[in-house]
């Protein structure tokens, strides 16, 4: 179980030192997802192996259903494990103002059980809550509940956006919430850091060795305004990226800047905006992110646009998303891909949904990445 020791100890000591009646409530979510890359193409011969650290290889053209835990659907292989998962969340209330939340998720992608969340919560007043521990990094609109498929219209949020190697942080945050008329306003300010030893995404998809990655000195915030029809969200975060390759137990910095010079402690700014509409039977979702590493003249733009229609228990969504990297110092090594998707969702029972999605990804990276692929996937998703 991967859990920051401090976060775990903090949570456990709060629970054990309570000595008073604890009100506990549990909830959960799960999905059983099957997918198959039906066909694909690449510049060279097909199929090929994507280069990764020893012991990891994927037959491509392939489709990454989940970058965080590297849930990859290999070429013409019907697979259940890349995205199937089950999560259990426990909320423990010690006093009307003090509670702890733990969320544990078991995933097929890397056969792991991890504590996605483990934090304590203190309600300062009706509008303000202070939290400390480990939480998911709220960079995107659906970040917090990315694994609760039941709560969003597609089978998965677009992986052209929802795909960074660090997706949680250990730290503290202040959560503000208020209602004016039929609008709800939320603000969140956080500080923290996250260290990832043997980072799966970087080691299995981008590098050929083990990679240890740390995002330090995180300072970020988001504000969100929503009513029954519209929701708007803006987010900003600054962090310092530290990356090492680890070969035969020896760590060496691996990021480069001008003239292939080795750099480390690279500053990174993350900007995001999201705008969604739910009007009568119509749905619209849009999200744009811009990531900037000025000291190495490296930027990334990610965007996703979807439109859909809901009739009774059925809904259909059409989406397009794109990820594009720009690098002054390695213009022939940049990553770029776009995905067009068609989703069908059937809410056949309360708390359960069946989804079928067809995705077509076009890989325009300047290096051999995952290739062009056509994925058909189906998922049974529920909350309990």
């Amino acid at each position: 179980m991967r859990i920051n020791q401090i976060a775990a100890l903090t949570t456990l000591s709060i629970i054990s030192s309570a000595g008073m009646a604890v009100e506990s409530s549990f909830s959960g979510f799960a999905q059983l997802t099957v997918g198959r890359v039906l066909s694909g193409s690449a510049d060279g011969s097909v199929p090929y192996q994507i280069s990764a650290q020893p012991g990891n290889n994927y037959k491509c053209p392939c489709f990454t259903g989940n970058y965080e835990y590297v849930g990859v659907y290999e070429y013409q292989k019907t697979q259940l494990q890349p995205e199937s998962l089950a999560g259990l969340q426990g909320n423990f209330k010690f006093t009307p103002d003090l509670s702890a939340t733990v969320q544990v998720v078991a995933r097929g992608a890397d056969s792991s059980v991890s504590a996605d969340w483990a934090y304590g919560s203190y309600r300062i007043n009706e509008n303000l809550t202070l939290q400390a521990g480990r939480k998911r990094l709220p960079l995107y609109y659906y970040s917090d509940y990315m694994y609760v498929g039941y709560a969003y219209p597609w089978l998965r949020p677009s992986q052209d956006l929802y795909a960074w190697q660090i997706y949680s942080y250990d730290g503290a945050n202040l959560l503000y919430s208020n209602n004016v008329g039929d609008w709800t306003y939320t603000g969140n300010f956080w500080i923290g850091k996250r260290k990832s030893k043997d980072n799966e995404m970087l080691g299995n998809l981008y590098y050929t060795s083990r990679i240890d990655e740390s995002w330090n000195k995180m300072v970020g915030g988001y504000i969100d305004a929503s009513n029954d029809i519209f929701s708007v969200r803006g987010v900003y975060m600054h962090t310092v990226v530290e990356r090492y390759s680890v070969i035969n137990g020896i760590s060496s910095p691996i990021m480069t800047g001008a003239n292939n010079q080795i750099v480390n402690d690279v500053g990174q700014a993350f900007y995001g905006i999201s705008f969604n509409v739910d009007y009568k039977n119509w749905l619209m979702r849009s999200e744009i992110n811009y990531i900037d590493r000025p000291s190495v003249k490296n930027t990334f733009t990610a965007q996703s646009y979807s439109g859909g229609y809901k009739f009774d228990q059925h809904s259909v969504m059409l989406s397009w998303s794109q990820f594009a990297e720009h690098a002054d110092y390695w213009p022939t090594g940049t990553e770029k891909h776009n995905t067009t998707s068609l989703t069908y969702r059937w809410d056949f029972a309360t708390s359960q949904a069946l989804k079928v999605q067809f995705d077509k990804i076009k890989d325009k990276s300047k290096f051999q990445f995952t290739g062009d692929a056509n994925l058909l996937s189906a998922s049974w998703q529920m909350v309990f």
Partner: protein, 136 residues
């Protein structure tokens, strides 16, 4: 005999009228709760997780009163309410309302908690609760 028949006719008409009209639902709180009247938009904040000022109480998941309540309060069916709550629960912003199994249980819980807010049939109102909203 005639008086009896007239009374019986009147009684039957009232009974039939009662069966045909859908039960009116009211939102209630503890009589000592300072809240007075409330609009549907305000009440829905407590039942859809947007405000934690009061402690919301739900009726049984598959009960008709629960389905009718959310439809009349916010025009939402139970799937939509579940989806709205999934977002709140799985972002750690709140927990689902406690589920009680009858109007009697709701009234008892309200009597025990000055911050509780629940919904019951209008016909079940007595002086153990205060009505702050009658749903259209």
């Amino acid at each position: 005999m005639q008086k009896f028949i007239i009374r019986l006719a009147l009684a039957s008409t009232c009974l039939l009228a009662g069966l045909v009209t859908a039960a009116e639902i009211v939102v209630v709180v503890n009589p000592k709760n300072p809240a007075t009247r409330m609009f549907s938009e305000q009440a829905s904040q407590f039942f859809l997780g947007k405000s934690t000022m009061f402690v919301p109480l739900d009726q049984a998941e598959k009960s008709q009163i629960r389905a009718d309540f959310y439809q009349r309060l916010a025009g939402k069916d139970i799937s939509q309410v579940k989806a709205a709550w999934a977002k709140i629960i799985f972002t750690g912003k709140g927990v689902m309302p406690a589920e009680l199994h009858s109007t009697a249980e709701v009234k008892k819980a309200i009597a025990n908690d000055i911050n509780a807010i629940g919904y019951i049939e209008k016909s079940a109102v007595d002086d153990s609760v205060k009505v702050i909203l009658t749903l259209p």
